[in-house]
């Protein structure tokens, strides 16, 4: 039977064999945790503790600022030793709360079980917000904001993203296999809030064990398990929606415009913790993998653990890495070193050797159109990139640079090794700057 999919896309080798069969392992606490105040889309949190203060596990250390923001919490109990700028995964040094664990790892309050049936929809959303739940697929968008669409845009299709299309990463896969109860409970909670007509979990066909398990557990429930063709970027929100519903999110619009909402399966599990146990989002599963690490693992890490600690727990390095990538190889961020901490959206730590790094110099565009065929948004990447590099901002807008989801498919296939995504990003930045200047 032909599997549902979207137009365009690429087939990189999935490289999941390093970790897809390895159960999630708990990661021991390090000597220091660095909790950045900005780990999410939206306003950074405002620090609400002091240096020298003792904090309990799960205690709020930064409060949300405004609606599109979430609080950040201490990932373990200990003393706040500093509140200062520390290297952040996105490249700059940003304010963070530095905690020295006291080893007790004790919660701030007795976690109580709350029966979700006793809560209203708004109460559920508020608990999600207080717990600081953000999109765990990598984008880190505040979940409570997504759960509050305006009444004129009802959600008819609630989608759960178990696709994990990025090569190397297996954290969502293991979550579906080992913690399916938490995931499904979270799905039920979210369905309670959204009241959608159709609930779908999308899973790529390269995870047959997860598909079988979920089908078994959902037998009888009205949750559809939808196997999808293995293609990158099937896990991108718009591509998942079109594969599951056949409807395209309008350019410049949001999934709610076609009556859809998408949440990652790990986010659903975090919602369960937040609502039923009152636990804030202080840990996640991160796949530490790649040819340069001795023992690839799926680690359950606390937010704020330095990457150096993860490397140590995974047996150390095979050799000096050529690239340190936080996230997957297609959309992850390279890191300057191992000093940066794990944040809420960090789904993977990929260590490539020097020989794995693609270093070919750039050549002229030969108009082979592979990028055009690969683009899941049907753009002309070569044209947009060419205009962006010549600073022709109006033309980049004409060719719809803003519709680019920066998935990397175009750069992946380009034989001339042109940095297409980087050029398009550059063009988008120039376009946004121009629009901002026009408003001034």
């Amino acid at each position: 039977m032909k599997l549902r999919t979207f137009k365009g896309g690429i087939h990189p080798p999935d490289n999941k064999q390093w970790t897809s069969h390895k159960a999630i392992e708990d990661c021991p606490l390090p000597d220091e945790l660095v909790v950045p105040l900005s780990q999410h889309i939206g306003a950074p949190s405002v620090v609400c503790v002091e240096v020298g203060q003792h904090v309990a596990k799960g205690q709020e250390v930064g409060s949300a600022k405004g609606f599109v923001s979430v609080p950040v919490h201490a990932s373990t109990s200990g003393e706040v030793v500093a509140i200062e700028s520390r290297p952040h995964p996105f490249g700059a040094s940003l304010p963070a709360v530095v905690i020295k664990p006291d080893g007790e790892d004790s919660w701030s309050y007795n976690l109580q079980f709350t029966d979700p049936g006793s809560l209203t929809s708004d109460e559920v959303i508020e608990k999600v917000r207080q717990a600081g739940v953000v999109g765990m697929g990598g984008a880190a968008f505040p979940a409570h904001v997504k759960m509050s669409p305006p009444p004129e845009k009802p959600i008819r299709t609630l989608l759960f993203n178990g696709v994990e299309c990025e090569p190397y990463l297996t954290s969502d896969h293991r979550m579906m296999l080992e913690e399916s109860e938490r995931v499904l409970q979270g799905i039920a909670l979210l369905q309670y809030v959204y009241g959608a007509e159709r609930v779908v979990i999308g899973v790529e066909a390269n995870k047959p064990d997860a598909i079988a398990l979920l089908k078994e557990q959902c037998a009888g429930a009205s949750i559809e398990i939808l196997p999808l063709e293995v293609k990158y970027p099937q896990g991108a929100e718009k591509q998942l929606i079109v594969a599951a519903t056949g409807r395209e999110v309008p350019s410049g619009g949001l999934p709610m415009d076609v009556g859809a909402a998408v949440h990652n399966v790990s986010t659903a599990a975090a919602v369960t913790d937040a609502v039923m146990l009152g636990r804030p989002l202080i840990e996640r599963v991160c796949t530490v993998t790649g040819p340069a690490i001795k023992e690839p693992k799926n680690l359950r890490v606390r937010i704020g653990m330095p990457l150096s600690h993860l490397v140590e727990v995974c047996g150390g390095l095979v050799e000096e890495p050529g690239k340190i990538i936080l996230g997957g190889p297609m959309m992850g961020f390279t890191q300057v070193g191992f000093d940066t901490p794990v944040i809420r959206g960090s789904s993977g730590l990929l260590l490539l050797r020097e020989e794995d790094v693609a270093k070919s110099p750039e050549g002229p565009c030969i108009r082979c159109a592979r990028c055009v065929q690969a683009c899941p948004m049907n753009l002309l990447p070569t044209t947009i990139a060419a205009y962006a590099r010549r600073d022709l901002v109006a033309e980049t807008e004409e060719y719809c640079a803003m519709d680019c989801i920066e998935c990397g498919s175009c750069s992946y296939v380009c034989p001339a090794r042109i940095p297409l995504v980087q050029s398009i990003r550059y063009g988008k930045a120039a376009l946004l700057a121009k629009k901002r200047n026009a408003l001034l």
Binding site: G91, A92, T334, V336, V357, K359, E362, R389, P419, Q422, S423, R425, Y426, A429
Partner: protein, 268 residues
């Protein structure tokens, strides 16, 4: 034949009235369309001048001569601005300054700056990917073999396009008459600078103590007080990192430009 006649008649009948002063101004303007004046090309500047709201001394490439000519055309008094030239305040090329990592991607300083602030360990130093060279309409900038941007003081007309495009703000406009500069743009403490650059300013104050009026040190970085630069010469040999340069004696290492006294090719 008919078409030619028709065109001739149309040219006369539908001619647009142009102020003769505007045409005269267009004649004397350099015609480079660099935009330094802030107007869309030389035509734009000429139009604005004649509309009466603008000073005639906004065109750096034209120099003092142009100001006098424009003033005469417009029938106004004009103040000639002192000639300025751009300088890249950095000597930290790939041999003297350290990199934190090797950058792969678009060969553009602004693009490189977005990748974790650029590969140079020094936050203020020249990235060397030639965005300024590409922006310069007068071919006044070169990149040395070791990746340092250098600006030719004679060819620079002061249009400021390089200053606008540099993400590090390492290019500064300085008076043309002042040839001595502290070639550093980093406000990091001396110990930190020493680690990543052999020729950076460590804020030791020696220049400032030798000639107090000619140098000021703020936030671990010295700058020449350009009004007193005649005295600044004394401190050049005293600087422990050889960070101060007199461009009249020569351009940074690796540059092909020659100072005016040695240069027989360029007209002043």
């Amino acid at each position: 034949m008919t078409a030619a006649i028709a065109l001739g008649i149309a040219a006369k009948k539908f001619a647009v009235e142009v102020d003769p002063r505007e045409l005269a101004a267009m004649e004397v303007l350099p015609g480079v369309n660099c935009g330094a004046c802030g107007f869309p090309g030389c035509a734009g500047y000429a139009k604005a001048l004649v509309a009466g709201k603008i000073e005639p001394n906004l065109c750096p490439p034209g120099g003092a001569e142009l100001v006098t000519k424009l003033a005469r055309i417009l029938g106004v008094e004009a103040v000639v601005m002192a000639r300025q030239t751009a300088v890249v305040l950095c000597q930290g090329d790939n041999r003297k300054a350290q990199l934190r990592f090797r950058y792969l991607g678009l060969e553009d300083c602004n693009a490189a700056q977005r990748i974790a602030g650029g590969s140079k360990a020094c936050p203020g130093g020249c990235i060397g990917l030639a965005s300024c060279l590409r922006a310069c309409p007068f071919d006044a900038i070169e990149i040395t073999a070791d990746g340092l941007a250098v600006i030719n003081r004679e060819r620079c007309t002061g249009c400021r396009k390089c200053v606008a495009v540099c993400p590090r703000n390492v290019i500064r406009m300085t008076p043309y008459e002042s040839s001595i500069h502290v070639m550093c743009n980093s406000h990091d403490k001396g110990a930190a600078v020493r680690k990543y650059c052999q020729v950076g300013c460590i804020g030791c104050h020696i220049c400032n103590k030798t000639v107090p009026d000619a140098y000021k040190v703020e936030d671990f970085l010295a700058t020449v007080v350009y009004e007193r630069d005649a005295e600044a010469v004394e401190a050049i040999v005293k600087c422990p990192t050889r960070c101060i340069r007199d461009f009249n004696e020569g351009y940074p290492e690796g540059s092909t430009f020659l100072p005016l006294k040695n240069d027989k090719s360029d007209a002043a």
